[in-house]
Assembly symmetry: C2
Homo-oligomer: 356 residues x 2
């Protein structure tokens, strides 16, 4: 069937508000481009803890597994921050990644012209920055054995970082494939001078690289990468790295663009299926006020159209509409220079719909 | 005896050049302040691999163990980059840290007035930035079991991250003690929403904090820290974190000041003994040219005077001399705006001696 099933898990905080605008955009594109979506909603994160006692209820997972793509808002909030591990929103996030085998987290970080000034970096340094972090998302220290034990020196905690060749190879291939559609440069980030997993990482990336002679590969130690992102952000194209380093490096990269409230991400597995979400969090401080910026979530839809469905025309339409609205000077509070002129979440959504 | 033994391990690349200037400064301060040093030199890093077959020869370690403080230049270079782990310069670095129980790496990151423009951050964001990273240096994933194994899924690599309460407690105390001498704020960086070691870290830091009610404590997740350093660098005072996170965060912090070629670090254990070194590396590309900037190494001496020997007057004298020379406009190539006016390593050293 041509109808695509979208599992919608809006989550907590501003999640439901921004997802609502993204769905309006999807509905508009159904009419405009003859697409057809079926939306199903599921509980996820804090709200699922409150209503079902677990951040990732089985029915939500089932729903996602049957869907063609997942649209996620955001999860978490102070209410659940002190919960034991099993009933924390993050546990749901890690659980869904693993259960859906979403091993490749794709996070483009680029500059919105109208937001250049929002970065804390000098504009001349930022100029031309357009990078994409490919983060391994289902392995490493996130998912290895973790436990406490008593020793003669007192209590001790252990986390285990594990990677096998297959896990590294598939994420490396993703990175090289994506690099081919961009500027054909991959920076592989590791700590091969210290970690055994990084040495296996590097060997494997080097081996995979042989299949992509048209793509330039550099190895960057993670500490050096944290520096080079500040020094020469525009020199990076695709950055590929393991889960923990990717968590840190992708957030640094997003922040330096100054556009963090506007960035989207995709989490992919082997097929076309993917989970799409804004990079920003649930922003509990502004939840329910109707002032959140829906653009990152709306642009997550464009990413979904491109990466999961191949709806390039509809994706372009969304991206262009966003650009037009921003160029016309419309701003939500988070990106407004003059806060008194800031528009609401729904007003921003309406303007984007109109511009489509 | 009043004579202090200094173990000098200048290492590779520009190490010997910058250390030579630092020793001249120490000798000048002997005369000026009635101090007395005995210098012993040892092989370390790449040069030790070449001459002794190991990056940390036993006699070098013995020499360091008998000394009151160690002055280190820098280690490493392309020549040894593809060596097996046992004969790599970094292995010497990790070995000396562990053998001398230097569990606390202290890295101040601040702005040199004359170098404000060198940062890629906007001056108004950087304004007032003066932070210090306390990095745990002898535990965590750096020193846990690491190995490969064959599995049904193919080869697999494993690194183990381990922390016990004692290790966390002592580094936390260092951080709180240092914060007391500064702006009385500690940001403890962890990934407590994912890692068991981070959860033990956070519990322990909270417990230690009870002994320092005058110091304000915040917990920052490592990904968020990578962002906040860009967003609000001047809001940080002391940042305390575990080994791997500290490696990344301290380099990011150093780079954002724009003064990375000028920053010093101390690695301390339980007593007054410490190892002092510039934050910059061995810079093989400019080694032997006599153009390296000796300031970070010279200021490492000032740090040694303060933290190991309590020679505050002599330390001030060095810091002030450096400031005077910089204020007068003298620059080595790395920090010169007009490269044609750059002065040599020894010329910079002479000017600082003269200014003392
Ligand atoms: C909430 C947390 C578990 C998660 C992660 O560390 O992966 C988040 O920081 C992210 O990057 O999506
Ligand atoms: C060379 C390397 C092993 C070392 C580390 O990671 O500790 C270095 O990056 C540092 O920060 O001193």
């Amino acid at each position: 069937s041509k109808t695509k099933k979208i599992a919608v898990i809006s989550g907590d905080g501003i999640g439901p508000e921004v997802v609502a605008e993204a769905i309006k955009v999807m509905k508009r594109s159904e009419e405009m481009f003859g697409l057809s979506f079926e939306f199903e909603h599921g509980l996820f994160g804090g709200i699922a803890i409150d209503e079902k006692g677990t951040p990732l209820p089985q029915e939500t997972l089932d729903m996602c597994q049957k869907a063609d793509a997942v649209l996620l808002g955001a999860v978490g909030g102070p209410k659940w921050d002190n919960n034991p591990q099993a009933t924390r929103p993050e546990t749901g996030l890690l659980g869904i990644r693993k259960a859906l085998n979403l091993y490749a987290n794709i996070r483009p970080a680029f500059i919105f012209d109208c937001l250049k000034e929002a970065s804390t970096l000098k504009p001349e340094v930022l100029e031309g920055t357009d990078l994409l972090v490919v983060r391994e998302l289902t392995g490493g220290i996130y998912f290895g054995d973790k436990f406490r034990r008593e020793t003669e020196q007192g209590q001790e905690a252990v986390d285990t970082c594990v990677y096998n060749v297959m896990e590294i190879e598939r994420i490396a291939r993703q990175a090289f494939e994506i690099a081919r559609t961009r500027s054909k440069k991959v920076a592989s980030v590791d700590k091969a001078n210290v970690l055994e997993t990084s040495r296996l990482w590097r060997e494997t990336v080097v081996r995979v690289a042989a299949d992509y002679p048209d793509v330039e590969l550099e190895h960057v130690l993670v500490d050096n990468c944290a520096m080079q992102l500040l020094r020469r952000p525009s020199s990076f194209d695709v950055i590929v790295t393991e889960n923990m380093f990717g968590d840190i490096i992708s957030d640094e990269a997003a922040m330096l663009t100054g556009s963090i409230g506007m960035l989207s991400s995709a989490s992919l597995g082997d097929g076309a299926f993917g989970l799409y979400e804004p990079v920003h969090g649930s922003a509990p401080d502004i939840a329910g006020k109707g002032i959140a910026n829906p653009i990152a979530t709306i642009m997550s839809v464009a990413l979904m159209y491109r990466l999961t469905f191949g709806y390039h025309e509809a994706a372009d339409c969304i991206d262009n509409a966003v650009k037009e609205v921003l160029d016309a000077g419309h701003r939500t509070a988070d990106i407004a220079v003059d806060k008194s002129k800031a528009i609401s979440t729904t007003a921003m959504g309406e303007l984007i719909l109109a511009a489509m």
